[in-house]
């Protein structure tokens, strides 16, 4: 992988690009497992420090699987954290303060319950039949699998996909309007992660910068 090669040659830009490419993905996975933004961010930072150190010293054996390597490094750090957390009785208040702004800026927090209810009610109203409403309910709330729902409701897979596609599209459109994003950029990942990414990267680069200064 060219990025790793460039990092081994000392390119700071390549290091930044590596973080930009994988940070959000790793953060999402860690947050899914921890439900904790601050912890996920800490582990992300530690992960990338380790990965870049290994990339500099050419210790990454399979560059083609760098994504998997970053994920596994992050998971290992998370496991180690879980092992050690019993020994740690309290969090330092400095750590909490340091990441407070990240908590406030992260993704779904912007969507208040009342507004989300309003948007969802609109989506439901637009569904043509009770059966379609049942499909959404069973899939998203009950966690029933697609093939089971199709069988129960007597609908084709194509119809099921259409119902979900419309609901997802309407949600994205409504959010785009609420967040004042141009229709052409109506991508939930883009909308919800832009601010988060900016904050994460700023935070990481700040910490990484001071770390590098100490290292060299």
């Amino acid at each position: 992988m060219e990025l790793l090669h460039a990092i081994a040659l000392g390119s700071k830009d390549a290091e930044r690009l590596l973080v930009e490419k994988y940070y959000k993905n790793l953060f999402f996975i860690l947050r899914s497992q921890t439900q904790d933004n601050s912890l996920s961010e800490d582990i992300c930072q530690e992960t990338f420090l380790k990965v870049i150190e290994k990339a500099r010293s050419k210790e990454i054996r399979n560059p083609e699987a760098i994504g998997a390597f970053i994920r596994q490094t992050g998971i290992n750090i998370l496991i180690e954290h879980k092992r050690s957390i019993a020994r740690r009785k309290t969090y330092s208040s400095d750590t909490i303060d340091q990441h407070e702004h990240l908590k406030q800026s992260s993704t779904l927090h912007h969507i208040h319950s009342a507004k989300l209810v309003e948007i969802t009610q609109q989506i439901i109203r637009e569904l043509p039949t009770e059966r379609d409403r049942t499909i959404l309910h069973d899939f998203f709330l009950q966690g029933i699998e697609k093939k089971v729902i199709c069988q129960q409701q007597g609908v084709s897979a194509a119809h099921f996909d259409r119902v979900l596609f419309r609901a997802r599209q309407r949600l994205k459109q409504a959010l785009a309007i609420k967040l004042n994003v141009p229709p052409g950029e109506c991508n939930l990942y883009h909308i919800l992660s832009t601010l988060l990414t900016y904050v994460c990267l700023s935070q990481w680069m700040k910490i990484y910068g001071s770390y590098s200064e100490r290292l060299f």
Binding site: L39, T90, K103, S106, I111, S113, A114, T120, L141
Partner: protein
């Protein structure tokens, strides 16, 4: 091992990932795939948001259409795979889940994550009401939560609960009886046991004339 480029397989994995139904090896494979396919994260975030919205709508609709408690509670239990609701009683009032005979009101308090105290005005009717407080918490708050409601001026504790858990949509569901309260301001303190982060919200109860 898994053809995650196949849209059907991808959708099936994403759905089961959201509901924590993947086997260990499937989860590893899917997360490795996510590392290289960030657009799939968009789909998962969208679905989580839709699930949260539908969950909230069902709560609201149950009240508006006068669905009896059996249906309401049935939904709560049935939805446990998606929205793990921790229903609990506060104080010594008989507000155990099984004893509910209907919910009169749902009050959303979205701002407990805020560092600044905010005021939420809640109208007290002349009769006793069973009220659900939905507290939207920060995704970074893992819980469980210790919650106290006390009178603002005197500091007298009115209600308390420990180890309240979040729903999957990051809401804390609190059942209250309005008999606990008289017109005036109350302090609602939520403390995340895992992070030790504490947030405070001011709730103001007003009587039907809008006066304290």
């Amino acid at each position: 091992m898994y053809d995650l480029d196949d849209p059907e397989v991808q959708q099936n994995f994403a759905h089961r990932y959201i509901h924590n139904l993947l086997e260990a090896d499937e989860q590893v494979a899917f997360e490795e795939y996510l590392m290289e396919h960030p657009k799939l994260i968009d789909a998962i975030e969208t679905d989580k948001l839709l699930a949260r919205g539908l969950s909230l709508v069902e709560t609201t609709t149950s009240k508006q259409t006068g669905i009896q408690r059996s249906s309401w509670l049935g939904w709560l239990l049935a939805g446990a795979s998606v929205a793990y609701l921790s229903m609990f009683a506060i104080g010594s009032l008989p507000l155990q889940t099984k004893q509910l005979d209907g919910i009169d009101r749902v009050v959303y308090i979205d701002d407990i994550r805020s560092a600044d105290p905010v005021q939420k005005r809640i109208l007290l009717s002349s009769r006793s009401e069973k009220m659900v407080l939905m507290l939207s918490t920060d995704l970074g708050q893992a819980g469980p939560f210790n919650i106290k409601i006390s009178q603002l001026d005197s500091g007298d504790l009115v209600a308390e609960t420990k180890n309240a858990k979040q729903t999957e949509t990051n809401d804390i569901v609190i059942l209250l009886n309005t008999e606990l309260f008289s017109p005036g301001k109350y302090q609602l303190t939520t403390k995340d046991s895992s992070s030790q982060v504490q947030t405070t919200t001011i709730i103001e109860f007003v009587d039907e004339k809008g006066e304290q």
